[in-house]
């Protein structure tokens, strides 16, 4: 009877049996940081190519990186879906005069990474030049083994 009880307790304590909370893979934070920086760079390059080619190039990469239910809030406070964001980029209403970001920080929570940074790109949006730096937050989540951008928000930095 005692051995039965021991067996029962062992089973309860075995995550595989009770379907316990999954812990992340073997990735260290440094590995995750590298992955995210790489994917964020890929996104930015694909975006510039997509804008310059009016949607002829870079679309496949953006489609892979943007999650299907992406929520994208631009500096005007408008909420865009993935399709609306891609259309915004493709339509020619946005042009990059220069592209850059000068600082960022990352927080990793298992398969979720928060990336906050400062963008210094000079852009022309709907005919209006914008050279004021912006704060942005990107939320990346690993879905089916792939890091996807699920949320982005940008805020113009106000003068002190």
């Amino acid at each position: 009877m005692r051995s039965l009880l021991v067996l029962f307790l062992v089973m309860l304590a075995t995550p595989g049996v009770v379907g316990g909370h999954k812990t992340g893979g073997a990735n260290t934070t440094a590995d995750v940081e590298k992955d995210i920086l790489k994917i964020d760079d890929q996104k930015d390059h694909a975006m510039q190519r997509y804008v310059a080619s009016h949607g002829e190039a870079g679309g496949a990469e953006l489609d892979q990186i943007y999650a299907d239910d992406l929520v994208f809030v631009n500096t005007r406070g408008t909420l865009l879906t993935k399709a609306q964001r891609l259309e915004d980029l493709r339509s020619g209403s946005l042009k990059f005069i220069s592209f850059g970001r000068d600082s960022y920080s990352l927080r990793a929570y298992g398969d979720t990474v928060i990336m906050a940074g400062r963008a210094t790109s000079v852009v022309e949006y709907q005919g209006k030049l914008n050279r004021v730096p912006r704060r942005f937050t990107n939320v990346y989540i690993k879905l089916n083994g792939q890091w996807r951008l699920v949320a982005h928000q940008a805020t113009t930095i106000a003068e002190p």
Partner: protein, 174 residues
């Protein structure tokens, strides 16, 4: 008189019991599994109740409650594009440099990814921020992550909404 069983019989008996217990446990736990949509809606309810608690605490300047909800590594980007830590944010409430003249927040949309919830919404509260009155509506994104079994507020960003885009203001004008 009790018969003495051979070690092989004893092992076999234990294996049979073990397999029966495993099947029973799987059955019991399987019965607790819910469809994903129902799980997501339960999470939405949970997050919404935390948002309500947080909003009440913000209006009362109750940093005890906020400390419980804010993640230790919170990244908070306010509508002026300033980045604040958990401590910075708590200090703002403790010092009284954030005061709500009126409070209205809603139009919530949720995206649930397991132990992460992304919430977007609109805030139309009128706020006295460091002596300046701000009544421009803000769109925000908040991220909650379940840490040690509790949902914590780990990231937030707010952006002033442009009045040139009427759909931005729909919620606040209703």
């Amino acid at each position: 008189m009790r018969l003495k069983r051979s070690p092989c019989v004893r092992i076999l008996r234990r294996l049979v019991i073990l397999s029966t217990l495993t099947t029973t446990l799987h059955g019991l736990l399987g019965a607790q599994e819910q469809p994903v949509a129902s799980q997501d809606s339960a999470v939405e309810k949970e997050i919404l109740s935390i948002e309500t608690l947080k909003n009440d605490a913000m209006q009362k300047g109750d940093t005890k409650v906020l400390k419980q909800i804010y993640g230790d590594s919170l990244i908070f980007v306010n509508a002026r594009g300033q980045v604040l830590t958990k401590k910075d944010r708590e200090k703002e409430f403790e010092s009284g440099s954030v005061k709500y003249v009126s409070f209205r927040q809603g139009d919530y949309h949720f995206r649930i990814y397991g132990n992460t919830a992304v919430v977007t919404g609109i805030a139309c509260s009128v706020v006295d921020y460091h002596g300046r009155i701000n009544q421009t509506p803000r769109r925000f994104t908040s991220v909650y992550v379940k840490l040690d079994g509790r949902w914590r507020f780990v990231a937030h960003q707010a952006t002033l909404v442009s009045d040139k885009e009427p759909r931005n203001l729909q919620y606040c004008s209703n």
